[in-house]
Symmetry: C2
Subunit: 147 residues, 2 copies
DNA sequence: TATAAAGTATACTAAAATAGTAGACAATAT
DNA sequence: ATATTGTCTACTATTTTAGTATACTTTATA
């Protein structure tokens, strides 16, 4: 029941891009270095994200990638879905035919509830939220101490 | 992000046992047949469930397995945990040391929230609940039709 | 317009996890 | 005594995941 590196690395890469947010594209090489992901593997993650319209790329010298939409409009559920495929904990949620029991299977119902619980979390978190969380961790609000 | 067959088969096997609930042990061979799981594979699932005190077994002729506790005291979270290992979607939840970023990683925080959402579902469903859901599906309450 | 610096695409390989099988062994009801 | 049933350990096959390699395309800019 583990997420693969694809979703993990991919989310980190996207957060990285969001944090560099300027008008200039961010080079894959830089992302790879900062995030400790091999450039070649990162490319595998970037391609589907481009196809899905999460990021866009500029080829050639001074090229790189950038968010295709505002960070506030990129939901984590979308990212995970693109990189991980469906989050369904069991095949029979999406394709009931794989098991003749599906229609009457109560355990299947449970896995569906589990999926929905996960979805609910991921649907409500955007890249922008991640950026804010990051900022908060990096620069915590000064705390007042009362003596 | 798939559950393995272990948790799926295991839950079904336990529900099967709960449904046969009598004082007599249920034979593994029967469970295997009803649930379409090879006997040998089922044995792999049964062993850890016995160790964990979910079921107990009687060896020898007329032997089999039975619930070691009332179905209402067996939570799905426990079953999944035994058969699947932790449900953590990423290694770094349980073992932050696997990644030097853990302490400052905001994506990790998200995966932790996802885990908690899943846990919340599985903690609240017992084998007894599954039995009741099953009964409901099999013998739906008669519905009044108003003309 | 040549060229270096990027991203793109496809194919391959290694490693790990998952799923499943086989067979000898141990306990027990009858 | 013995047939029936669970137990244990070892092995194997398959699939998925992770990662590497290499040739190719695009483009800024000198």
């Amino acid at each position: 029941m583990k997420l693969s590196t694809r979703a993990r690395y991919g989310s980190r890469a996207l957060l990285d891009i969001a944090l560099q947010s300027s008008d200039e594209p961010v080079q894959l090489k830089e992302i790879a270095q900062r995030e400790d992901i091999s450039l070649q593997y990162l490319e595998h993650l970037v391609t589907p994200l481009i196809s899905a319209g999460i990021i866009r790329s500029q080829r050639g010298a001074k090229g790189g990638v950038m968010l295709a939409r505002p960070a506030s409009e990129i939901k984590l559920s979308e990212i995970v879905n693109i990189l991980e495929g469906t989050i369904d904990p069991v095949e029979c949620i999406e394709h009931p035919d794989v098991c003749e029991r599906s229609h009457s299977c109560v355990t299947r119902d449970i896995w569906d509830e589990v999926k929905k619980a996960m979805d609910a979390v991921l649907e409500n978190i955007t890249l922008q939220n991640l950026v804010e969380r990051y900022m908060k961790k990096e620069k915590p609000e000064p705390v007042m101490y009362y003596i």
